[in-house]
Symmetry: C2
């Protein structure tokens, strides 16, 4: 019998196929393979990107020159523009405003063929630390209410360039998905006086069936009601609302668990395309008792079609308990 399961934060129901569940080999996603550089993000081509906002390089090297290990640059084709005022306007029953925002690219490594799964932990730590630095900088701009950090890996997951990179978009509005989490979590807090994600972590650690791994104060788990097969969340085990308050040693632990998880994902699902998204508290309310930052990782294995777009229901052909067993290496 298939099962309907409800996400305890946003109240979204998903349909979980519990019979004839699909195994990793049932998905036909083409493995992500690098065609090879050099590209505009490779060392020596610094002039092909807009001037860098942040970079890690020896202190004697000039900006926008080779020698760096990580660069953050404005997106050359930004979805939103950094210059200007928001100027909200009405038009009858409609609302609009100028598309003001920041759209930046975090070039994770000079190595065109590397990935977050293959880079050494120290290099991945620098990526997660750069996320923090960019949020801290962007929150000074009073026009912005949110910074969403995300990664598209592989063409099928929406990446248009293969050189390892993640992106951030700062917006004058808190995204609706984060608003829905905030609302759900606030309702839960009002009733229980507890953070719903803290409760999730507690229950999952007791139950263990959906825990993939724990390390250095972080938990990687297959959520109870995942939209997608092999969807994984990584959360700090202790309550943390705002990502940008992460400490250096925590960023290193996070890099460790993300790298480990991605290597398990590559092993189980044969280098799948994937997206990840960092959900954190809004810039203006960093100290919420009811919000808990988390990283959502979704391998791109199935097509989203009319039923999902029309209903918001998702049909997930792999129960999260199975996904966790595969990722733990207990099934193959």
């Amino acid at each position: 019998m298939p099962e309907l399961r409800k996400d305890p934060v946003v109240g979204r129901w998903v349909i979980i196929a519990t019979e004839r569940a699909r195994r990793p080999s049932d998905f036909g996603a083409a493995p992500v393979r690098t065609k090879g550089g050099p590209c505009a993000f490779c060392p020596g081509n610094e002039g092909k990107t807009p001037p860098e906002i942040l970079a890690l390089r020896p202190s004697d090297a000039p900006p926008n020159s080779p020698g760096w290990s990580l660069r953050v640059v404005p997106n050359k084709f930004p979805a939103l523009r950094i210059e200007g005022e928001i100027e909200p306007q009405g038009e009858g029953l409609y609302d609009r405003m100028n598309g003001i925002g920041a759209h930046e690219v975090i070039i994770e490594t000079p190595d065109h063929g590397a990935t977050l799964a293959s880079l050494p932990e120290e290099a991945v730590t620098e990526v997660f630390w750069a996320y923090r630095e960019r949020i801290v900088d962007l929150r000074k701009d009073p026009r912005f209410d949110y910074v969403l950090i995300f990664k598209n890996h592989g063409e099928a997951a929406g990446a248009s360039l293969e050189h390892p990179h993640s992106q951030l978009i700062a917006t004058p509005i808190v995204p609706i998905m984060v608003e829905e989490e905030l609302e759900g979590a606030q309702g839960y807090f009002r009733m229980k006086k507890r953070c719903v994600w803290c409760d999730i972590v507690r229950q999952e650690r007791q139950n263990q069936s959906r825990v993939i791994l724990e390390s250095g104060g972080f938990v990687a788990l297959a959520p109870f009601a995942p939209r997608f097969p092999f969807e994984t969340w990584i959360l700090p085990a202790a309550h943390r609302a705002a990502y940008e308050e992460i400490e250096r040693d925590e960023a290193q632990s996070l890099a460790g668990i993300v790298g480990d998880l991605l290597r398990r994902m590559n092993q189980t699902l044969k280098d799948p395309p994937f997206n990840f998204m960092l959900h954190t508290a809004p810039l203006r309310t960093p100290h919420l008792d009811h919000y808990h930052w988390h990283l959502e990782i979704i391998p791109k294995l199935i097509k989203v079609a009319g039923f999902e777009w029309g209903s918001g229901f998702f049909i997930n052909p792999t129960p999260p308990e199975d996904a966790a067993r595969y990722f733990r290496g207990e099934a193959s």
Copy 2:
């Protein structure tokens, strides 16, 4: 300057690219081409589907035999099961229930190579009339609260079979996307004492810039804040909450405007893959003053990636005013 626009019903913001807007030829979607039958949905193969629930055939022909012009059959690989009780259960902070529901396939025509754009209006009328008949039948089952009708056309839009068909899924829960529409529309009604979609139709007809065509009491328009390029909504111009209360002559008008719109879409976008979804009032509340049924049509032209999955924001590279001009034949 890109623009942020807010959907007046659900409050979702989208980013509309108003400069360097993408034209129809900028999208690389492969045209949908039929490889050819026969398949399990073709005449003569009636035994390859589960026994039919509804069919149009001469009255002297036996069920599940050739000679039909339309058939409705249970999905052979249903996402939900028709037999059993819902049995809601808790598990700590989680909620689950049995995956009870109906999952049916509407085989729109015996002609493997036809489409809703190529079929005569009378045949398309039968399809829209069959939707009505199935909703009227399924609402007798007290376990169900909603029937979502949808269509996936083309492999890229999630269709696994190319023979023309649409699907319905009846669920024990009102889908979260419809709930969000209901909430938004109820809030609007509370303030204004008017249906928000009635107001949209009124404003769009006055303004005209996003109206694609009007005919027989229906309006096809490019919505103000579309998630996807060339997204189109078709609505009855007068207030109608429950789709299943459609009259026969209205179903014919609907068939006419849908066929016309799909032909314009095929012309402008070169036979794109697409999804459509019918949003109607929940089965138990068919007479709402604040809900207005509508058909959402989304050509599959762009990839949804990390930013969209993480934020619920959509980046739409084609302003709806441009999309409407292309569909009206005023631009090419």
